[in-house]
C-alpha cells in the first residue's frame, strides 16, 4: 500500500512513467491499483473530457492530432486515450492511432496512451473511465478519448465525456443514415471531416436538417436543455447588465460561452441546434473552429451548471455498472459458477424456468 501512495504522489507530480504504469494496472484490473486511485480521488475533476467518435476511416486520429496541436498552442496540457479493437479470437490488437500523433511524442505537455478494447463492446475499453481519472489527477487540462470506429449504437462515450464530438465523412451512405437513432444523437459538436471531398456539403446539410427536425418535433435531445439553460442565463445576465454593473459593450460570461455554440433553426430564432463544423484534418482546415466549438461547449456547461449534472448522471450510471459487475463476480465466486451451469442445465431440461433460476441466484446473493 505504501507503494501505491508513492505512486499516486508521482502521478500528481507529473511523473510520466508512474502515470503510464498506473494505467497498466487499471487495464489489468490489478486490485493493488485501488489504493493509488483512492489517493488520487481528491484531485480528480479539473480536466475537461472530450470524446471523439465516428465511423472507421473518418479521420478521428488525424483530427485528434490537430486538436492536440491547437490546444497546445493555447498552452493547455493534453492527454489522449486512443482505443482500438482487440481481436475477439486471439485477444491481440494492433493499436495504430498513435501513428498520426507521434509528432507530440516528445512534448512533455502531451501524454498519449493506446488502449485495446479487450472484449468490451460499446466503442471503449473498460479501463477508459479509470484511466481518464488518472490523467485528470495527473494535471492534464484536457483528456481526449478517441473511440474505436463506431457503427450505429456504440454510444458508451456519452457516459464518460463532458463534450462529445461526432465525426462524419462524405460517402458513407444515403441520408437515411442521418435519421437513425443511436450514434447520430450523441454529438455535442458535429464535425464533417474530409470536407474537400464530393458530397461534404450535403452531409453538413443532412446533419443540420436531422437536428432541426428533432428540435421542431420537440424530441428529447442531448443539447436542448443546455441551450435553454444558457438562453435563460443570457436573459438574466442581460437584465443585470442593464442595471449598469458591466462595462458597455463587454461580453458577459454567458454571451462569451454562447458566442459560437449552436445555430438558430431557420425561421425559428428561439430554437437552436448544435454546431456542424466542416474540417479537412489533413490540412488543418476548420480545426480552429472545431476547437473553438469544443471550448464554448465547455464554457456553456460550466456557466449553466450542466457540467456538474452531466457528471453526476454519468457517475451514477458507472456506479450501477460497477455494482452489477461486483454482483456477478460475487455469484461466480466460490464455485458458484458451477451452480450457474447447473441452473442453465435445469432450465434447458425444463425442470425449472429462467425466472426460477434468476430467483435462485438472487437468494444466493442475499445469503452471502
Amino acid at each position: 500500500m505504501e507503494e501505491s501512495a508513492a505512486s499516486s504522489d508521482l502521478v500528481r507530480s507529473g511523473d510520466i512513467r508512474a502515470t503510464a504504469r498506473l494505467i497498466s494496472m487499471v487495464e489489468r484490473e490489478d486490485p493493488s491499483r485501488l489504493a493509488a486511485l483512492k489517493a488520487l480521488h481528491a484531485y480528480v475533476g479539473n480536466a475537461h473530457v472530450v470524446g471523439i467518435t465516428g465511423p472507421p476511416g473518418a479521420g478521428k486520429s488525424t483530427l485528434t492530432d490537430k486538436i492536440v496541436s491547437r490546444l497546445r498552442e493555447q498552452g493547455r496540457r493534453v492527454a489522449v486515450l486512443a482505443v482500438d479493437p482487440s481481436s475477439p479470437f486471439t485477444g491481440g490488437a494492433i493499436l495504430g492511432d498513435r501513428i498520426r500523433m507521434q509528432r507530440h511524442a516528445t512534448d512533455d505537455g502531451v501524454f498519449i496512451r493506446s488502449l485495446a478494447t479487450r472484449g468490451h463492446l460499446g466503442g471503449l475499453s473498460r479501463a477508459v473511465s479509470e484511466a481518464s481519472r488518472v490523467l485528470d489527477a495527473a494535471g492534464y487540462d484536457f483528456v481526449i478519448i478517441e473511440t474505436v470506429g463506431v457503427g450505429q449504437s456504440e454510444v458508451d462515450i456519452v457516459r464518460i465525456a463532458d463534450t462529445v464530438v461526432l465525426v462524419s465523412v462524405p460517402g458513407l451512405g444515403d441520408d437515411i443514415q442521418a435519421i437513425k437513432a443511436g450514434v447520430m444523437e450523441i454529438g455535442d459538436v458535429f464535425c464533417v471531416n474530409k470536407a474537400d471531398k464530393d458530397g461534404a456539403e450535403r452531409v453538413v446539410r443532412e446533419i443540420r436538417s436531422m437536428l432541426e427536425t428533432a428540435v421542431l418535433n420537440g424530441a428529447t435531445t442531448r443539447f436542448t436543455p443546455l441551450y435553454e439553460a444558457r438562453a435563460a442565463l443570457t436573459r438574466l445576465d442581460g437584465g443585470r447588465a442593464s442595471g449598469g454593473d458591466r462595462a458597455p459593450g463587454a461580453p458577459s460570461a454567458a454571451e462569451g460561452a454562447a458566442h459560437h455554440l449552436a445555430a438558430a433553426v431557420p425561421g425559428h430564432p428561439n430554437l437552436e441546434i448544435p454546431p456542424v463544423v466542416a474540417t479537412v484534418a489533413e490540412s488543418g482546415q476548420g480545426i480552429h473552429d472545431l476547437v473553438d466549438e469544443i471550448l464554448s461547449h465547455e464554457a456553456s456547461l460550466v456557466a449553466t451548471g450542466f457540467l456538474r449534472s452531466r457528471r453526476e448522471e454519468n457517475l451514477a450510471w458507472e456506479l450501477g455498472r460497477g455494482a452489477a459487475e461486483r454482483v456477478l463476480s460475487a455469484l461466480e465466486h466460490d464455485g458458484r459458477k458451477e451452480s450457474m451451469s447447473d441452473l442453465a442445465r435445469a432450465v434447458l431440461d425444463k425442470k425449472i424456468d429462467y425466472y426460477d433460476a434468476l430467483e435462485t441466484l438472487e437468494r444466493a446473493l442475499t445469503r452471502s
Binding site: I16, R17, A20, E27, R28, G92, A93, R98, Q102, A105
Partner: protein
C-alpha cells in the same frame, strides 16, 4: 486478468517502407499481443517516449537503411537515461552478421534478420520478458 504482452513496433531512421514491420506487427497480434505501431521515420527520442507512455514490455525495432549501429544503441541509451531497465528491446531488418555482437553488447537482446520465421521472434519475446508483475 491475464497479463497482456504489450509491444511497441517502431521504425527508426529514414527507411521508405515498413512492409517488414507490418508483417511482424500482424504476427505478434495473432499471437495475442497488443502491438502499438508508430509508423515510419521515428527518432530514438520519439520511440523511447512512446515506450514509456505506452508502458510496453517490449520494443521491437526494424531498420533497413544500415543506420542500426547508431540508432539501436541510441535507443538503449535513452531508455537508460529515463531509468527504464525492464523493457526487452529487440531489433530486426537488414543487419550484417558482423554487427550483431556489438548490438547485443549495447543491450539489444535479440537480432532477427530477414528470413527469420515470425514464430521464432514470438517465442523469443515470450521467453525473455523482463517483467511479469
Amino acid at each position: 486478468m491475464e497479463r497482456k504482452i504489450r509491444v511497441l513496433v517502431a521504425k527508426p531512421g529514414l527507411d521508405g517502407h515498413d512492409r517488414g514491420a507490418k508483417v511482424i506487427a500482424r504476427a505478434l497480434r495473432d499471437a495475442g499481443m497488443e502491438v502499438i505501431y508508430t509508423g515510419l521515420r521515428q527518432t530514438p527520442e520519439q520511440i523511447v517516449s512512446a515506450a514509456v507512455q505506452e508502458d510496453v514490455d517490449v520494443v521491437a525495432m526494424s531498420i533497413l537503411s544500415g543506420a542500426h549501429n547508431h540508432l539501436f544503441p541510441r535507443v538503449m541509451d535513452l531508455l537508460r537515461e529515463k531509468g527504464v531497465d525492464d523493457v526487452l528491446v529487440i531489433g530486426g531488418g537488414v543487419i550484417p552478421d558482423d554487427d550483431i555482437p556489438g548490438l547485443k553488447a549495447a543491450g539489444i537482446a535479440g537480432v532477427f534478420t530477414p528470413g527469420t520465421p515470425t514464430t521464432e521472434t514470438i517465442e523469443f519475446i515470450k521467453n525473455n520478458l523482463k517483467r511479469g508483475d
